[in-house]
């Protein structure tokens, strides 16, 4: 998919949404799309989506960046606009093309280029060009590291695994589970139904995720070398989420609008919450803080949740957060609560697998998780469901969905 920029993924996905939901584009009031690594050519990806010919040109649109929770935030923004009465119909989602990350020039080379464009005379230009050194031409690739600590995501996960005592085997078991459930969902069509086939200029139509491994075994996974701490580490490529390309879009409406337009909602948004912690601490523990907030806002306890969708950045991260949810001590120390957040049942957790298998296109993931949760809530006739997403910068996002 490296030929396809994120904006095109977002546009195609939205066109598919229009058709699948038989949507009249004139009805849409606003759009929000998440993207984490924007292209300098289309910094506001959401506006490029709202300028699709299926819509009037008058739909304002904003792009949202809350790292891996960007699409979730886009959905939350849309819901807020509707709740405020500022909009009736909103399209929200996200997109990312991680095979299309911008590669930058070195600072010195960029400065020279800018100066060249301002230079008036030939001699000025020649002087500037003469000043370029070979090392200036080495491109700079953006790293997935915290600007505040310099620690990469993988290093953070590695640190969490060690500090929380998450074993390599537990991580591998969890990752294998993710692949098996995603494979089962693909097999029976539940995952496939959520995918818009993509027709590339060349090659076969793309209609399945290529990260899901049907043939994985614990033995094979155990053979992989740790990626971030070669000697004593436990985080490997097999128990981390692959960085992929993708887009997601959901249709949000006020209850009135849905009724008058004849749409039956999959689910209602009951509440959401965001939280942040010191990135120098356990970077990906945000959900453990956001979830109790969202549950409080929903007026619910964990026991009332029929389904939970946790974004799987790393198996170590999911298991660390589960450990925190289930720990009375953690709740007392970190949240000042007397009770643990809740007991996590594997039967209702990520029942179609998660990002470890399906992949993690940063800006898009939140929309996928939201749709999967809503669809499964319908299928299992569940009243309440929870989403949790960890995000760069020590942030967490949580949302409670409800069926009425």
């Amino acid at each position: 998919m490296k030929d396809v920029p994120a904006v095109d993924l977002a546009r195609r996905t939205t066109v598919e949404l229009v058709h699948r939901l038989n949507l009249n584009g004139d009805l849409v009031d606003e759009m929000y799309f998440g993207q984490v690594v924007p292209s300098v050519l289309t910094p506001n990806i959401a506006r490029e989506v709202s300028l699709l010919p299926q819509f009037p040109t008058s739909i304002p649109a904003a792009s949202v960046n809350r790292a891996c929770a960007s699409a979730n935030s886009a959905i939350a923004h849309g819901a807020d606009q509707i709740r405020n009465g500022y909009a009736r119909v909103v399209i929200a989602g996200g997109a990312e093309s991680l095979s299309n990350v911008p590669i930058l020039h070195s600072k010195r080379f960029s400065e020279t280029l800018v100066a060249l464009s301002k230079a008036r005379t030939l001699s000025q230009r020649l002087k500037l060009v003469a000043g370029i050194r070979p090392r200036d031409l080495v491109p700079v690739a953006p790293a997935i590291a915290e600007p505040s600590t310099g620690e990469s995501m993988g290093q953070s996960a590695e640190k969490m695994a060690k500090e929380n005592g998450i074993s390599r085997e537990d991580q591998d078991i969890f990752a294998l589970r993710s692949h098996r459930l995603a494979a089962a969902g693909t097999e029976d069509g539940r995952v496939a139904a959520e995918i818009a086939p993509f027709f590339r200029a060349r090659g076969e139509p793309v209609s399945t995720d290529n990260g899901i491994r049907t043939d994985s075994t614990l033995e094979k996974m155990a053979q992989l070398r740790p990626a971030f701490d070669r000697k004593y580490g436990t985080v490997t490529a097999a128990n981390s989420s692959p960085l992929t390309d993708g887009a997601s879009a959901v249709l949000l409406m006020s209850e009135d609008a849905a009724q008058s337009l004849g749409y039956t909602p999959l689910a209602f948004i009951r509440s959401y919450a965001v939280a942040a912690l010191d990135p120098g601490d356990q970077l990906l523990m945000g959900p453990a803080y956001a979830v109790p907030k969202a549950l409080d806002r929903a007026g619910l306890t964990w026991r009332e949740l029929g389904l939970v969708e946790m974004h799987e950045a790393f198996a170590a991260q999911v298991l660390s957060n589960i450990q925190a949810f289930e720990s009375k001590k953690w709740a007392e120390e970190r949240l000042g609560r007397s009770e643990a957040v809740g007991q996590v049942s594997r039967d209702t957790l990520n029942v179609m697998g998660g990002s470890l298998a399906i992949g993690h296109p940063f800006g898009a993931t939140g929309g996928r998780i939201t749709l999967t949760l809503a669809n499964e809530m319908v299928r299992r006739d569940v009243q309440f469901g929870l989403i949790s997403v960890c995000a760069q910068g020590g942030m967490g996002f949580a949302m409670v969905l409800e069926r009425r």
Binding site: R11, R12, V15, E16, V18, H19, R20, N22, L23, N24, L52, P53, Q54, P197, F199, A201, E204, P205, S207
Partner: protein, 708 residues
């Protein structure tokens, strides 16, 4: 009546041309009468140092000369008088003792362009509506108000020939590149810039003349080079027109004569040619076609008051094969509708989506679309294997396999998903629409939309109505077909509709000749000479022998012995010869390129090729078609002879200079046609027996077009 308003400021007279009661400016007798004294007055006015000439219409400069006036011409003398008047007027523009600047926004065509060519300076807007050209030859005449003289002098012989011989109209940007206009500006500052140029010219400014470069020096300015250019152009024209259209050659002669003997001699030559062509048969026919297609653009497709038209915004095409994808891609390109292609598996959908997108991509490559327009249109193409998007569609066009059971299943499923105001169309060429409609709950919204392949290139659309089709459904389909850029005829739900109906006996006859041993080259050559773009055997190869065979069986079933299919066709198909598409047909193909006739075809037909008298080839083929056309008109297959003729010209390439099969029957007279058919009938068989309506017409001396 005031056509021109003039006001003078600071020595610059601003003349605004605004023909009352018309949406566009054209050069009529009144215009000429009012312009004459105005020019005299400007000449005499010492306060006026320069003139800016512009249009008062919204998006039009001058559409050309008044075509009605031209049609009324009775004789060469009248034509000569008309053209001389025009030439003198344009000359006076050029010979005014003060510079004239033309400020051009909107179409500037024919006599309009010839007028501004005589001006000292031309400023045009860079607006898409601004187009310049000399389309005269398309009406069988030539630019005769100095266009053949001034354009080559302005932009060089080669560029001028390119425009004049093909009757081209070019966008403002290209006109600027060619040097037809001196400056290209935004619409908001057109007048200001024209005024500025007028002031500078009044002060003696000499605008820089374009220099043509080496090629121009060799070919445009050098008599020897010019001779080569003219010889090449003449050869191309003869090739293209087959000698049937005299106008391009006349224009060529006027240009050559003018360059050799000076502008006055050139003008004389222009006038002479115009006087002959203007009252000639070819021009008459081309003008009739022009009027017919213009009238058809306003035709709702139904009798009586115009029904409410549903403007199609969302289209679903069922069946993403070559035809379906062509319909989808053309709909996106021309009508800008959101188009969903549906087929049964993803690979077929993808191939359809690719084909549709390729139509857009080709336009981008040929710079007919900008990058941004292309991006917008490309997003209108999507596809899937389910019925998603159907609920929001205003029109569904079914283009699945030609099998009644498959079509019935599609229409049954469609009806459960679509909204009440969605039109259901079938692109069938062989199955009666009424039979398809049988399985629907609302047969009133079922209609036929018969496109021709390749859809993006073929200009005709047959809209087929059943007894039950509701008027709004017809009007909606006609309106949409027109938005797709098609010339639309509404035809009755009879086997073969119109185009295939008249084509069927013609192709059968061609096949019969092959069986008789008439050389295939002779058959095709004969019809090309007659004026068809390709001969019947070539056409069979292009259409596909399996497709033709299938259609001919349907026709045989419907009409009996008269339309007995060629039995050799089955043997051709058994021999795996399907025509161009599999590289084996009556002709040989090598990597998609056509080579000569495949001599082994005669073995398939079990015959030895032997030449026969040429005249009968043409007569047999043409009269097979003419007879059937008369019969179909009698059966009310088309709504008017006009629709029938336009359908034949745009659907089959019936020679435009003959005006169509029904025009031709009129020109021959029914009596003569009956005689010819009787002779053919005796010589070749009952199938040529003149249809009763032709006999009646012959007896009562009637015509298909009573008034002209």
């Amino acid at each position: 009546m005031t056509i021109f308003t003039t006001d003078t400021q600071n020595g610059i007279a601003r003349v605004v041309f605004d023909l009352p009661g018309e949406s566009v400016n054209k050069i009529t007798a009144e215009v000429r009468n009012e312009l004459e004294p105005l020019l005299s007055q400007l000449r005499g006015d010492a306060n006026v140092r320069a003139v800016v000439f512009m249009s008062g219409k919204k998006d039009n400069f001058i559409a050309g000369a008044d075509i009605d006036e031209f049609v009324r011409l009775k004789s060469s003398d009248e034509a000569l008088q008309l053209v001389r008047g025009g030439q003198q007027l344009v000359n006076r523009f050029g010979q005014l003792d003060k510079p004239v600047v033309a400020a051009i926004h909107g179409a500037c065509l024919g006599g309009g362009l010839e007028t501004v060519l005589a001006c000292a300076y031309r400023v045009a807007t860079n607006h898409p509506k601004t187009q310049l050209g000399l389309p005269e030859v398309q009406l069988g005449i030539i630019p005769a108000a100095g266009g053949c003289q001034r354009l080559p002098r302005l932009i060089g012989v080669r560029a001028a020939l390119d425009i004049i011989l093909a009757g081209k109209v070019v966008p403002a940007r290209k006109a600027h590149r060619l040097g037809i206009v001196n400056e290209l500006v935004h619409r908001a500052i057109l007048e200001e810039i024209a005024m500025k140029a007028a002031r500078k010219l009044a002060e003696g400014w000499k605008p820089r003349q374009r220099k043509g470069g080496l090629a121009s020096a060799l070919l445009d300015k050098n008599p020897l080079g010019r001779r080569v250019v003219f010889a090449t152009a003449e050869k191309q024209v003869r090739n293209k027109t087959g000698g049937h259209y005299p106008a391009p050659l006349a224009a060529l002669d006027a240009i050559r004569h003018g360059l050799r003997h000076g502008i006055d001699a050139g003008l004389d030559r222009e006038a002479k040619h115009f006087a002959e062509l203007g009252v000639g048969e070819v021009s008459r026919k081309l003008v009739q076609i022009f009027f017919a297609t213009t009238a058809m653009k306003k035709d709702t497709g139904v009798e009586g008051p115009a029904p409410e038209v549903q403007t199609v915004r969302n289209l679903t095409v069922v069946g993403a094969g070559f035809m379906g994808a062509g319909i989808g891609g053309t709909a996106v390109l021309r009508a800008g509708v959101d188009t969903r292609l549906r087929d049964t598996n993803l690979d077929r959908v993808k191939s359809g989506v690719d084909t549709a997108r390729k139509i857009l991509k080709d336009r981008l490559k040929r710079r007919r679309l900008t990058k941004y327009e292309h991006r917008r249109l490309d997003a209108l193409v999507s596809g899937g294997t389910d019925w998603s998007g159907l609920g929001r569609s205003d029109l569904v066009v079914e283009a699945v396999f030609e099998d009644i059971d498959v079509k019935h299943q599609v229409f049954r499923e469609l009806e459960t998903q679509v909204s009440d105001c969605c039109v259901l169309a079938s692109n069938t060429s062989t199955i009666p629409i009424a039979r398809i409609a049988e399985v629907t709950r609302h047969p009133g919204r079922v209609i036929g939309m018969h496109f021709f392949s390749p859809v993006e290139k073929m200009p005709l659309l047959e809209v087929i109505v059943t007894d039950q089709t509701e008027p709004w459904v017809t009007a909606t389909s006609v309106d949409f077909g027109r938005r797709m850029g098609k010339t639309v005829i509404v035809v009755a739900d009879h086997p073969g509709f119109w185009v295939n109906r008249i084509l069927s006996p013609y192709l059968n006859e061609a096949g019969r000749m092959v069986k008789e041993g008439v050389p295939i080259e002779d058959i095709d050559r004969s019809m090309k000479r007659f004026g068809f773009p390709v001969g019947p055997i070539t056409l069979l190869d292009e259409v596909g022998l399996d497709v033709a065979q299938k259609a001919s069986l349907v026709m045989h079933e419907a009409f009996g012995d008269r339309l007995t299919p060629i039995d050799g066709l089955v043997r051709m198909i058994d021999d795996n010869r399907l025509g161009r598409k599999n590289g084996r047909g009556f002709y040989r193909y090598d990597k998609g390129k056509r080579k000569g006739v495949d001599p082994s075809v005669y073995e398939v037909f079990n015959v030895d090729a032997r030449p026969v008298p040429d005249g009968d080839i043409e007569k047999r083929l043409v009269f097979a078609m003419l007879n059937e056309a008369a019969r179909a008109v009698e059966e009310d297959v088309v709504r008017s002879p006009r629709d029938g003729d336009i359908g034949a010209i745009f659907g089959i390439g019936y020679p435009p200079f003959l005006g169509g099969p029904l025009r031709q029957l009129d020109d021959l007279s029914a009596g003569h046609a009956v005689d010819a058919l009787e002779r053919l009938s005796q010589a070749y068989g009952e199938r040529f027996a003149p249809t009763p309506v032709l006999r009646q017409m012959a007896d009562s001396n009637l015509r298909f077009y009573p008034n002209s």
